[in-house]
């Protein structure tokens, strides 16, 4: 149940002439993880790869021009099997003819956008001069100097400051700022600089123009910009129309070409001699003989299929029953088991829902979570959401069951008007029992991790590690006996001198740990206590969840409803409207509050249950670090 798939290394030696057919056969077979061959010379892609790659570049360029992915057109497509390459190439050639005008439009659009950008920049340069109907020829004089500056103060301020100097000013307001064109005697440039520094911003250079005057030049640029924008919009409309008509074709062609490209590129991983191709990979052991038979049947004596013994580390393929496969996600999220390591999915599938249910524990929340999980599971047939929903189904069932244990329904102790009697009350005196239960779960969970650690190390013939894990288990037992003899002596009353027994076990285990794991292990002993105490979060989070639900239940929906009934009885129209309004508002707040409490509960329960597995449980036996088995059919199809 906890074993991962046993892998077999296979080597296939085929004629170069047959390589394409062999690839097709392997893709059809599917369940092979092709690795880079160390035999022979370096392999090369199939000859047709260059043609496919060049078509792909062109199709991707088309897709980028059309920009359909942004518009969501890719979502409406579905792919039904792989079409032959010749058919795709022929359709691509046909499409290229139609796409000639698309390319021309796109080229023109790029040019027009460039022109637009240049004209916009030119307009920004001309903006301060747009009201000046002056020819640049007038601004050339041996005795005079001209400057164009933005006014910082007031016109009067500038005129007063320049009084007595030989200078004249022309004010204009092209935008929000006022600009001043100043003409002054060149000999008074020094004095004028001081005036400008006090009243104006930095001067701008007079732009070079081709029109009769600045104002005319600005109008020409403005008109050019409007024309360019209109043309760009026109071209974008044409491209958009083309997209609506042909984008699905581009996507289908691109997808098909990509699959063929991946197939054609595969031989670059093969080894090569003058006439042979050497393919190496991993196949599940139970299917390896079938692959050999299949290839020999297809290629008779022109192919050699060898089962190879190797020291290379195989990829990991989990092999769990369909029912618990959703929990594989949690194991992969941490780290895939190394090859040969036991897969903890089955353990996590049992303990995760229990811990989750113990934290959230409410009949109402459990049933709502179950409904959500079933809907999501139906909507998503694979991927993250499918796995998450599968896990939530189990967790929600446990939440409902623990809701019965705690006697809680949306934070109340009533279900359909009937008072429930909790087995464990989450409040008052019941908290001590809950605290004890949380610690018991911790003890069992950590002990399970250690027992699995002993068993796996023994199975792998790592006897030293197996013995060390057994001593850790003894430490845990000793801690339980010592703690119980202090806190709950009645539980260990049957044991002879429990304190002495516990201390003796602890001493033996510490000596054993010293010899099996070294002195550093002794310093880690307190971590065992912390690991178990960490499970108290089950109680702590559960209590906070209940308190939150009880706070939400304080919302006076019942009182508002009673007010509504009373108002209806009095036939008081104003009272009915007021009561109805307050009832509706309180009902919305109540539902929203419970929805928020449920969302928080789902999130916290998942994260904390996961943490207890990753930190407290996995640290007792699990290493991970495996790399995934990637079946060729998935690799070629692109996931």
């Amino acid at each position: 149940m906890m074993q991962t798939e046993t892998m077999q290394r296979v080597r296939i030696i085929a004629l170069q002439d047959d390589v394409e057919q062999v690839i097709n056969e392997l893709v059809d077979f599917g369940v092979i993880h092709v690795t880079r061959s160390k035999q022979g010379g370096a392999g090369e892609p199939l000859e047709k790869f260059d043609q496919i790659a060049s078509e792909l570049v062109w199709l991707r360029a088309c897709e980028k021009i059309l920009g359909g992915e942004k518009a969501g057109y890719a979502k409406v497509l579905s792919f039904n099997g792989l079409r032959p390459l010749d058919e795709l190439l022929s359709e691509a050639a046909e499409f290229k003819k139609k796409a000639g005008e698309l390319m021309a439009w796109n080229e023109e659009l790029q040019e027009t956008r460039g022109k637009e950008s240049a004209l916009a920049s030119r307009m920004r340069e001309l903006e301060p001069f747009k009201n000046l109907a002056l020819s640049p020829a007038l601004l050339k004089s041996a005795a005079l100097e001209f400057r164009h500056l933005p006014l910082k103060t007031t016109r009067e301020g500038l005129l007063n400051a320049a009084k007595g100097l030989r200078a004249t000013f022309l004010f204009s307001q092209p935008g929000k700022a006022t600009w001043v064109l100043a003409a002054f005697d060149s000999k008074q440039a020094g004095k004028m600089d001081a005036v400008f520094a006090a009243h104006c911003g930095p001067a701008v250079e007079f732009p070079k123009i081709t029109a009769a005057n600045f104002s005319e030049e600005w109008k020409i640029a403005e008109k050019g910009l409007a024309q360019a924008a209109e043309r760009a919009n026109d071209l974008e409309g044409k491209i958009s129309g083309f997209m609506k008509k042909h984008f699905s074709t581009v996507i289908a062609l691109r997808y098909g070409m990509e699959v063929h490209a991946r197939k054609s590129e595969l031989p670059s991983r093969f080894g090569k001699t003058t006439s042979l191709e050497i393919i190496e990979g991993w196949v599940p052991f139970r299917l390896s003989a079938g692959l050999g038979d299949r290839l020999r049947k297809k290629f008779s004596d022109k192919i050699l299929v060898e089962m190879v013994e190797t020291a290379d580390i195989p990829p990991t393929k989990l092999a769990n029953p369909r029912l618990i496969r959703g929990f594989e996600f949690l194991v992969k999220f941490f780290s895939l088991p190394g090859y040969g390591e036991w897969d903890p999915t089955i353990l996590i599938a049992i303990s995760f829902p229990i811990i989750f249910g113990m934290i959230l524990g409410d009949i109402g929340y459990g049933l709502v979570a179950l409904a959500i999980a079933l809907v999501v599971r139906k909507k998503f047939r694979s991927g993250f959401f499918h796995s998450a929903a599968s896990m939530l189904v189990f967790s929600a069932i446990m939440t409902t069951l623990f809701g019965v244990v705690y006697g809680e329904f949306f934070g109340t102790e009533e279900l359909l008007g009937l008072k429930m009697h909790p087995f464990v009350e989450r409040g008052g005196e019941g908290v001590n029992l809950l605290l004890g239960l949380a610690l018991l779960v911790g003890v069992i969970h950590v002990a399970t991790g250690l027992i699995v650690g002993v068993a796996w190390n023994a199975a792998m013939k790592h006897y030293r590690h197996a013995v060390a894990k057994a001593f850790w288990l003894m430490i845990e037992a000793a801690l339980i006996i010592i703690s119980a003899s202090v806190v709950l002596p009645q539980f260990v009353a049957g044991l002879p001198s429990p304190m002495l027994l516990g201390t003796g076990m602890a001493v033996v285990a510490l000596v054993g740990l010293y010899f099996s794991e070294g002195y550093t292990a002794i310093f880690e002993v307190p971590s065992m206590l912390v690991n178990v105490l960490s499970y108290l979060r089950i109680m702590a989070l559960g209590l906070s969840g209940v308190i939150l639900a009880k706070i939400v239940n304080q919302i006076p929906v019942g009182a508002a409803f009673a007010g509504l009934v009373a108002a209806a009885g009095r036939a008081d129209a104003v009272g009915i409207v007021g009561s109805l309004l307050s009832f509706a508002i309180f009902a919305v707040i109540l539902v929203g509050g419970h929805a928020g409490a449920l969302a928080l509960g789902l999130f916290e329960s998942s994260i904390q249950a996961l943490r207890l597995h990753y930190v407290e449980f996995f640290s007792k036996f699990y290493h991970g670090g495996g790399f995934p088995f990637v079946p060729l059919n998935e690799e070629i199809r692109g996931g």
């Binding site: 999220f333 941490f334 780290s335 908290v431 001590n432 605290l435 912390v530 105490l533 960490s534 108290l536 979060r537 702590a540 994260i607 904390q608 996961l610 943490r611 990753y614 930190v615």
Partner: protein
């Protein structure tokens, strides 16, 4: 009139959970920043980052338990 002893128990319980929560927050801020850096550099490390981020949370849980024990055990 509330007994001063009850007030001191309340302060003790508040300190137990408050200081442990502060410690957890400080530890998680450094781990979180480093974890984000790790995830940006290397894909597929989310599990380990979550694990390291979750480790200091035990402090606040223990703080909560201590606060609970102060309020229930000593209060009598």
């Amino acid at each position: 009139m509330v007994d001063i002893g009850i007030g001191l128990l309340g302060i003790g319980a508040g300190l137990a959970i408050g200081v442990s929560a502060l410690g957890t927050g400080m530890a998680q801020s450094s781990i979180g920043a480093a974890g984000m850096g790790l995830m940006a550099e290397k894909e597929g490390k989310e599990g380990q980052v979550l694990l390291f981020l979750a480790i200091p949370e035990t402090m606040v849980i223990l703080g909560f338990v201590v606060a609970y024990l102060i309020l229930t055990t000593f209060k009598g």
